[in-house]
Amino acid sequence: MLLEIKDIHVHYGKIAALKGVSVEVDEGEVVTLIGANGAGKTTTLKTISGLRPLSSGQILFEGKDISKVPGHKRVLMGIGQSPEGRGIFPGMTVVENLYMGAFARKDEVEKDLQEVYDLFPRLAERKNQAGGTMSGGEQQMLAIGRALMTKPRVLLLDEPSMGLAPKLIQQIFEIITEINRRGTTVLLVEQNAQQALQVAHRAYVLETGKVVRSAEASALLNDPQVRAAYLGGGAEAVAPPEG
């Protein structure tokens, strides 16, 4: 088991955001967390990265308890994240943002930079543009590319499709599949459950801070209850026509 979250509880002040969440992610998998707003998806990812403190529970990475490891060290261990809202450093250029991803690393980074450019040619074109002036979609690519620069064993993606134009959303999901194919484990949080379930192997459903379902992604995709709650009845009806 690469990443194992065991019954974690997390609070914001007095409000409990997570009330016992357990999630497992195996090497090579794409796992997705879905759930309504405020269910605690972002909080889960932040806690894995060490941005929020645990009130109780455990996080194991490669079998080791990392609950007490400070966030910046978790990055070195192989936990990378592309955060909700992208978190681009607005005053730094695209390359500088990418180099930030390799901040804690001491090994050769040029090769990885090239790989990111291969994955997102747009970033290579805009190397020297300030991150803050990139469009929403471009920033999303930059955020994912930057997370890849940390050379993660597991990549946490928080709503990578949020606010993107339909065309870009398709691209992003294709890229996630590609990243996974190249060997990176992915934990994906999405509102866009339909597509998330299509690229994922397994999925967890979160409701108000608790896991209420977990299953093969394809199983959930066809589950009437899940369809009703998270996929929306009429989703396909208004799909743009082909060609």
Binding site: S49, I88, F89, P90, G91, M92, F103, A104, G132
Partner: protein, 321 residues
């Protein structure tokens, strides 16, 4: 007015050397502000600590009387190291005691500001009442008095194209500019510098990049403090005396310079410092020295009315989100 024209060059030199010291001290304000959004009110006391470290070192050298030429440059270098280490160290300590606990609790910037003011009072008094009397073997009540240490050979003058440039002012200006360039390169070219900038822009995301925020904050205070320490060495070269509240007015001016140039912007600190130094000198020439500070603050207001984020604007964290 007449004064200004007949003594234009001396006023300019004075303005530059005053501004150079403002600029170096301003760097500490600007860096800490950029990273923590905190007006580090106690930075003026970090500077003060530096001046006493320099003075102590001079005593250690046995107060070499009237050093000139290259020997003076060497001595100033040694003093700069002493000041830099003392100020940098105390800045780090200050952060550790007065700000870090607040940071951990997610305190408001105002709370940190009050802690800073408290620390500033504390440090001043600590020196006036305990450190100075002990270190310089003075009666207890004399701790509040100025302490002198004369060492430089001030009659050496460098001539540049018919203009006179006293050696101490020359060293101050050149020294400050060199330090600024070094710091600017450090922040823009090195990995630690990149970490500082990233933390300034988005600390949470910086953590996700493997940046150790505590280390960055420590580095920021250390660097800003060290700059103040170097400023202290240059200041001592110029004025050869210090006291427990030497930092008060200078600190306010340096912060003004930082804002004038665009707070959070390293180059802004240089521009702001120099501009402020010149304005003060020219202003004093025209209106009289008693209006020097009024002129300085009035110009600040005027500049901000037209450029609300200072002459060069903010940059360590960048305004647009």
């Amino acid at each position: 007015m007449n004064n200004l024209f007949s003594q234009f060059w001396p006023y300019t030199i004075d303005g530059l050397s005053l501004g150079a010291i403002y600029a170096l001290v301003a760097l500490g304000y600007t860096m800490v502000y950029g990273v923590l959004r905190l007006i580090n009110f106690a930075h003026s006391e970090i500077f003060m600590v530096g001046t006493f470290a320099v003075l102590g070192t001079l005593h250690l050298f046995g107060m070499p009387a009237n050093v000139g030429g290259f020997a003076l440059v060497g001595l100033v270098l040694a003093l700069a190291v002493a000041g830099g280490v003392a100020s940098g160290g105390s800045a780090v300590l200050l952060e550790y005691v007065a700000y870090r606990p607040l940071r951990r609790r997610g305190a408001s910037r105002l709370a940190a500001l009050i802690s800073a003011i408290g620390a500033s009072l504390f440090l001043q008094q600590l020196f006036a009442r305990l450190v100075i009397p002990k270190a310089f073997n003075l009666p207890k009540e004399k701790g509040a008095l100025p302490v002198q240490g004369h060492f430089a050979h001030k009659s050496d003058v460098v001539h540049i194209g018919g203009f006179e440039l006293p050696n101490d002012k020359l060293i101050v200006i050149v020294g400050a500019v060199l330090m600024m360039i070094a710091l600017d390169m450090f922040v823009n070219r090195t990995k630690l510098g990149r970490g500082i900038r990233a933390t300034a822009q988005d600390p949470e995301t910086a953590v996700l990049m493997g940046v150790n925020i505590d280390r960055i904050v420590t580095a920021t205070f250390a660097l800003g403090g060290a700059m103040a320490g170097v400023a202290a060495a240059l200041y001592m070269l110029r004025f050869e005396e210090t006291r427990f509240d030497v930092g008060f007015l200078l600190g306010i001016k340096a912060f003004t310079a930082a804002v004038l140039g665009g707070i959070g912007n390293l180059r802004g600190a240089l521009v702001g410092g120099i501009v402020l130094g010149l304005i003060e000198m020219y202003g004093a020439a025209v209106f009289g020295s008693e209006w020097q500070n009024v002129v300085a603050f009035s110009v600040l207001v005027l500049v901000l009315m037209f450029r609300p984020t200072g002459i060069l604007g903010e940059s360590l964290q960048q305004a647009r989100a």
